[in-house]
């Protein structure tokens, strides 16, 4: 039998020329015997494989044709068109940059939004006690009809007063509300802002308890203490926030139910004593008894007046809220719309916040991306290793 002449007799590593000769021979370029032998070898190897089953080939061809028909339905988008249409969504560097900036700006706007004062706090010092027990206790304690409406109305006002900022007044409790708010204005506008605060208090049914305005060269500050109906506290604070930018705002709530109950009890006791004295007076028969009872009635009237006054004072505390307003003169504060300085200041703040947001996002996303990349790389390496191991099996 004829021995097939194989080219490339050298057993050393492949030479560039050897590979080039092989490529040329397999591409049909070489005309030498060596090239012919390579082509014969390829033909022999290729001829060893049995042909594809015609039925399988037909089925596969049909499946491929069917895939093609399904992927390009009449009037529908072709993959090319959809790719073109969605091309702008591909994560190219400009797209990523635009998305990052948009994300950062949105975050900055949300963080620096003016509707969220920086120092907004709510304090509450409510004391716990039984609501139903108090209601039962107060009911029979109020004797004279004239005292009940005052106390009842005050308690109702305090109980129903809405409290902004999340401090919820418990029904049936007597609570004293308070708030403090700091507004910023340019020094030249401190006086005017203070005046507007005073007018606002009056229009809400309150009054200015005290006011102190100090305006100097380039500085200014006003301190006002307002007394407002508790029911209007929330609206008044909102209105104050519209007068000037709010730098700080806090609200407080103090439960004075016990104080109120004590005052009401004293009034009830004094009233009961008066009833008893009047009854005894009607039964008295001697001058001495009558004089003594009248003396005690006189003292009792004084006690009733004191108790009623104390109760009214407590009720007054519950029905009115004390608001401390501070107007700070700030040369950078812009209470009259956008100025160049304010715009630059805000732009700088937005940039700082943007950088912070980007830094935080990068701190989170970069390790995650690296971890994901490492996992994907490890998975690919493992798959490849698993496949290559099959080739080394004995």
């Amino acid at each position: 039998m004829k021995v097939i002449p194989f080219p490339g007799g050298s057993d050393t590593g492949p030479e560039e020329s050897w590979l080039a000769e092989l490529e040329a021979a397999l591409n049909g370029d070489g005309k030498s015997a060596s090239a012919d032998s390579w082509r014969e070898l390829r033909a022999d190897v290729r001829a060893l494989a049995p042909p594809m089953d015609p039925e399988f080939e037909r089925q596969l061809r049909e499946r491929i044709a069917e895939r093609g028909a399904r992927s390009i339905p009449k009037g529908a988008r072709s993959p090319k068109q959809s790719q073109r249409r969605l091309a702008w969504l591909r994560p190219t560097p400009p797209t990523l940059a635009v998305l990052s900036v948009a994300f950062a700006v949105i975050a900055a706007v949300l963080i620096t939004a003016p509707w969220r004062p920086a120092g907004h706090t709510v304090e509450s010092s409510a004391k716990s006690s039984s609501i139903s027990a108090r209601a039962d206790h107060l009911g029979p304690a109020f004797g004279p009809a004239e005292s009940a409406p005052v106390a009842g109305a005050s308690a109702a006002n305090a109980a129903n007063a809405p409290v902004a900022g999340g401090a919820v007044s418990a029904p049936g409790r007597v609570q004293q509300l308070g708030a403090s708010i700091t507004l910023t204005a340019t020094p030249s506008n401190v006086q005017e802002t203070a005046d507007r605060v005073g007018r606002l208090a009056v229009s809400d049914g309150g009054f200015v308890q005290s006011s102190h305005v100090n305006v100097g060269q380039g500085t200014g500050e006003a301190n006002l203490t307002l007394s407002l109906p508790s029911a209007k506290l929330s609206g008044a604070l909102a209105a104050l926030g519209r007068l000037a930018p709010v730098r700080d705002e806090s609200q407080s709530l103090q439960d004075i139910t016990n104080t109120y109950d004590a005052a009401a009890q004293r009034l009830a006791d004094a009233t009961a004593e008066r009833q008893a004295l009047l009854h005894a007076l009607s039964q008295a028969s001697t001058e001495g008894q009558i004089d003594s009872l009248r003396e005690r009635l006189s003292q009792n009237r004084s006690r009733i007046a004191q108790a009623r006054s104390a109760l009214q004072a407590v009720s007054q505390h519950a029905s009115t809220a004390e608001v401390e307003v501070t107007v700070v003169g700030d040369a950078h504060a812009g209470s009259e719309g956008l100025t160049l300085h304010r715009g630059l200041h805000d732009a700088g703040r937005v940039l700082v916040v943007t950088l912070v947001v980007l830094l935080i996002a990068a701190a989170v996303l970069v390790p995650l991306a690296l971890l994901l990349l490492a996992l994907l790389t490890a998975r690919r390496a493992w798959l490849r290793h698993r496949r290559e191991r099959v080739l080394d099996a004995p």
């Binding site: 492949p14 591409n27 494989a49 099959v390």
Partner: protein, 192 residues
């Protein structure tokens, strides 16, 4: 000799016609199947030695190529090379799954219509090549099969194997040298 199989030169030129389409759309995909389907099947059955497994691998290779056609990077290889890389992975997965060695379905018998033109010498030589191929390790055999069935260039071969081009050249050189030696040895034994 050239009448035994389709002309390799002709085949190579056909491969070149589908090697550089601008985009692997459905028309090109059908064309690719027409021109490469038999080669992929031949590669798979030569490596796996099982016709049903080879059909599975062939179908899977085209399926995967179809699904990943949008990611085809023409600068990194032709669709044919990509197809054979996919087919190789599928074939190795199939081999691993079955946990068995290829079985001898390789045949040196020629199709009936070509029997008239076949000579005894051709039949004997192909039997020698078949036995020599079977004597190679699986790793050597797959390089030869990828090179001859896939008709891949050295760079494409390297990419399909996941190794450098120089390593692929070395591996190809060793495999063909071993094949040549095996053929020579078998010839000597037959002569003796």
């Amino acid at each position: 000799m050239s009448a035994l199989v389709p002309s390799s030169d002709e085949h190579a030129s056909q491969a070149i016609t589908v090697s550089r389409p601008r985009r692997l759309d459905d028309v090109t995909f059908a064309e690719l199947f027409r021109e490469c389907g038999a080669d992929v099947h031949a590669y798979a059955i030569s490596l796996l030695g099982n016709s049903s497994a080879a059909e599975d691998v062939t179908a899977l290779a085209f399926e995967r190529l179809y699904k990943s056609r949008s990611r085809l990077d023409h600068d990194r290889g032709t669709p044919r090379a990509w197809l054979f890389a996919i087919a190789r992975n599928a074939a190795l997965d199939e081999l691993r799954r079955r946990r068995r060695q290829p079985q001898g379905e390789l045949s040196a018998d020629l199709p009936g219509e070509e029997d008239s033109e076949a000579t005894l010498e051709h039949i004997a030589r192909r039997a020698t090549v078949r036995d020599a191929l079977a004597a190679l390790s699986l790793r050597e055999r797959e390089v030869v099969l990828l090179k001859f069935h896939g008709q891949l260039s050295n760079s494409e071969l390297a990419r399909a194997l996941g190794i450098s081009e120089s390593n692929a050249g070395t591996r190809l050189h060793r495999a063909l040298t071993r094949l040549r030696e095996q053929c020579a040895q078998l010839d000597r034994e037959e002569v003796a």
